[in-house]
Subunit: 399 residues, 2 copies
């Protein structure tokens, strides 16, 4: 046991991201649930207080222009863009992930030509986070399509002239499996269909490469590895080459070419702004903007984060193997780096109770029915010492 | 002039809401733009700080249950309910007004039977705030309907067996005209169509009576007379008797009967919760919850607010008539109380420049193209002395 404690000490001493931890508010709890709700960045309380007291309280309505409220969705979209490999002008922040899945999928069907062009099928990852499937069913119903659930690995064979759109998760929320975005995107494009990627569990944890892999549309949340806060706004990516044909099912006034023209006829704005809908939620949006500041540190990059993420999850698996009796838990997350997100899922029959005891013992992960212990690893603020301790407490808890 | 100053003093001395002003953060500016963005309630900064520092920063993921985050949309919906004459359990807070208009209108067409039942027309107020019309066009396109724009007064004659849904504004955003919700709702119901009311400019300013007048669906924002803050979440009302047939076009996981069951099949929750979509935006939502506390004061009621609102707008019109040379501005807002919301719109050719000078002189209203000076009156924090001063400065500004 002391070997692993010593190893953790060495890994922490060599960790190029170790200093970033001070930018977050943390305590003695080992917080392995940043893939559900990221920890509080230390600069956010002050930023939010300024938004509330000065921008709203003193400037009031003037802040829509003077405090940059009106342009926040596209400005913050441009802060998210480099984290997912997108050039500026293609991402807009706002609404929930579910609402953005609806915009993206209906938009994708329309871009494909849809049922009028013989494309009447939407392929959806069968193991997706449920909301994507529910919204896909609604998008299909409202565009004259049907939904076909399948495993991501089955997508290439299922693609055909009837495929309108394909909705996939970059990282599976339950297993932590990282899907092959480049190959799947290429296959979707070759079939003449439109790709929609859900980046909730990958953005901020690993390189995505939206532009370089030719992704058509993408959505993601900002409260997991981007630490935007509870229910912070999601985002929508529309590839630059598709923007002038992107036809949103939610053409609110914020997406109008001239929003304050108050014209009865709708005319869509150019660019990412076309993905906006209604009045942006400023408090949450500007909290997110502050939370993203950490990415402008010279020592922080997506590559550095990915390297540490793999080191953390490797080390956790190593510690679990050393501390937990063989057979007590089954590792669900793939061991191959190319197939692993930034989480480790362990299965055991009594996972619900185990997670309760683990949380009581100061190690916070979460339980996903029916049998998964889910541990998220946020490289910006986790240490190897914490990872070793989490595995040790887990072993004690498993008894 | 001194007569009106003296009158203002007397009106303020007798104002039963005068003490409520201390619950808001105000300064020497006369703020007549609360119908666009309400002023900051004094208790909100502390409430938001607690949400950020303690609930998010210390409790982190535990706050979804321990701080009541998960149930906030329906809990805060029940705080909005009495302000619009709704019993509990019919309103859910979340998403933007535009997104809620989409849910409500698609839901309304489906409730009417839609094109399959020969109901393929959506009637929409032609002078509506533009987003309602844009979203109505999308809802119509996606449900096989057409949109027919018309004046609210023309609705009764236009209703017929082909009418699926009718989307109307309770108060016109530009003119401040209050439409006859009881009579129009009754006519819509008699025609077998479904009513959808937009309450953005009436909720918190005057009695709405959703339940007593038999309104089917309604939406509204919370950042105007409800003072929820910039982009605070909107709400959706679905009459109790329609909830089990309400079929949302945005069936996100938050509206599932068992959201954490993570089931691939969608099964809608009962009640107002069915109108939820994705993860609620907690910072803005809990700021709104704090902002609504003022309505629990024993001296605050919708009736008291309405009485003062009419007194404020009457007095403003009287001061304008006394101070501004006849013919310089035209009063757009109806003089009859039954037709007036909580704003006064004055038209003049140079309205854009006039409003700029007025704001520079410390009286904040807003300009709506092409020729409207718009002044909103929030009875919770405005004094008659401010109203007199606003009219006086306006007269100076108009030159």
């Amino acid at each position: 046991m002391s070997d692993l404690i010593e190893r953790a000490r060495e890994l922490d001493a060599r960790d190029p991201l170790a200093a970033v931890r001070a930018d977050f508010v943390l305590d003695e709890v080992v917080y392995l649930d940043g893939n559900s709700l990221g920890a509080l960045p230390a600069n956010v309380p002050g930023a939010v207080e300024d938004v509330v007291r000065r921008q709203w309280g003193e400037l009031r309505i003037r802040s829509w222009t003077e405090s940059g409220w009106w342009t926040a969705p596209e400005r913050i979209g441009d802060l998210v863009a480099p984290l997912v490999g997108a050039a500026a002008g293609q991402i807009v922040v706002g609404d929930s992930t579910s609402v953005n899945v609806f915009k993206a999928l209906v938009g994708a069907v329309r871009l494909s030509g849809g049922p009028d062009a013989g494309r009447d099928e939407i392929l959806v990852d069968a193991s997706t986070f449920p909301t994507d499937g529910y919204i896909a069913a609604s998008a299909a119903r409202m565009t004259g399509c049907t939904v076909r659930p399948l495993a991501p690995a089955e997508v290439p064979d299922a693609l055909g002239p009837r495929t309108a759109a394909v909705l996939l998760n970059h990282v599976d929320y339950r297993t932590g499996r990282l899907h092959d975005l480049p190959a799947l995107t290429a296959a979707i494009r070759a079939a003449g269909a439109v790709s929609v990627w859900d980046l909730c569990h990958s953005a901020g944890a690993l390189p995505v490469g939206l532009d370089s892999h030719g992704v058509d549309l993408a959505v993601g949340c900002t409260y997991k590895f981007l630490n935007g806060g509870p229910g912070s706004p999601a985002y929508l990516y529309v590839r630059a080459g598709l923007q002038d044909r992107f036809d949103s099912p939610l053409p609110g006034w914020n997406s109008h070419a001239e929003p304050f023209g108050m014209r009865p006829e709708y005319a869509p704005a150019d660019g990412a702004v076309r993905g906006r809908v209604g009045t942006p939620d400023i408090l949450s949006m500007l909290a997110l903007e502050a939370a993203l500041e950490v990415w402008s540190r010279p020592d922080v990059s997506v590559d550095a984060v990915r390297a540490k993420s793999l080191a953390l999850t490797d080390f956790f698996l190593e510690c679990v193997a050393a501390y937990v009796p063989e057979g007590r838990v089954v590792t669900v997350t793939p061991r191959a780096h190319a197939e692993r997100g930034s989480q480790v899922a362990l299965a055991c029959e009594d996972a619900g109770e185990v997670m309760e005891r683990l949380i009581a013992a100061g190690v916070v992960g979460d339980f996903r029915a029916p049998d998964v212990l889910r541990f998220g690893f946020t490289p910006l603020y986790l240490s190897f010492a914490e990872v070793e301790r989490a595995a040790r407490v887990l072993a004690d808890t498993l008894g």
